[in-house]
Symmetry: C2
């Protein structure tokens, strides 16, 4: 089953309440390339800059978005195993994040998942303010797994 671009956009921006509440928006949702944005408004901490947990969410969502636009969603699903985020500068504006992956790397990850039952992969992101300053660096460790085979007899 192929997802339509609109279905993918809805699943990135409003997959469930926690993410929807951040006001995250899809700027580019292409195969192998994602760009997302998060408004400062509503995500500020007590000193008026973007809260660490909001930046974490902006670093985490692209991995799922990339899966939806790029991987074979009828055969594999991802889980996030670990996330690291380094806070480098105060995030005092709306923030964007981009994530890209090569076609060869996608093929290799899917091949390994099919052959070994799982494939671990790391995605790194830079979160930037409107001046282009990198405010945080994300590093997510994911695992791609094949969907369970349906072996039950038809009923």
């Amino acid at each position: 089953m192929e997802l339509t671009p609109e279905e993918i956009r809805l699943f990135v921006e409003r997959p469930f309440a926690f993410v929807e509440r951040t006001g995250i928006r899809a700027i580019e949702l292409h195969p192998r390339h994602i760009k997302l944005g998060m408004p400062l408004k509503g995500n500020e901490n007590h000193i008026g800059i973007m809260y660490a947990g909001a930046l974490f969410t902006l670093a985490e969502v692209p991995g799922g978005a990339l899966y939806l636009t790029t991987f074979d969603t009828s055969r594999y699903y991802p889980i996030v195993k670990e996330m690291n985020i380094r806070f480098r500068r105060p995030a005092a504006t709306d923030i964007t994040v981009e994530l890209s992956i090569s076609e060869n790397r996608v093929k290799a990850i899917q091949k390994e998942a099919a052959e070994n039952g799982k494939a671990e992969y790391t995605l790194e992101t830079e979160l930037k303010d409107t001046e282009g300053t990198v405010v945080a660096l994300g590093k997510g460790v994911y695992q791609l797994r094949p969907m369970a085979e349906i072996n039950e007899p038809a009923r």
Copy 2:
């Protein structure tokens, strides 16, 4: 200026909108010991378990809470430099987190901040479900800094 227990509780549970929206609650706020809880309800992802970003927030807030109950808030303030979170098991219930620190370690961190202008310290947390299973492991790198001296002449 000493904060009252009620002021500390409000600052932990409702410091700003992003954290307040998670429904996080203070269970124990003692000097050198913190216990917080987060409801699953409102923080679920698309498969009904607690979203990674909610778990991140639950791992991040205790560092600030510990600062408020334990450190000299009139002389020092903390910043979070880096956070790592490992997701070990699905978080399918309300989740709690505890964080403790020794008196000697607090003294050493504050002494270093006073002498060197900053002190880095790491706090590790375990996030547990209602069965006591560790669902995620947090590791935050913080820096304690002295408040800026007020050197301007009184006006």
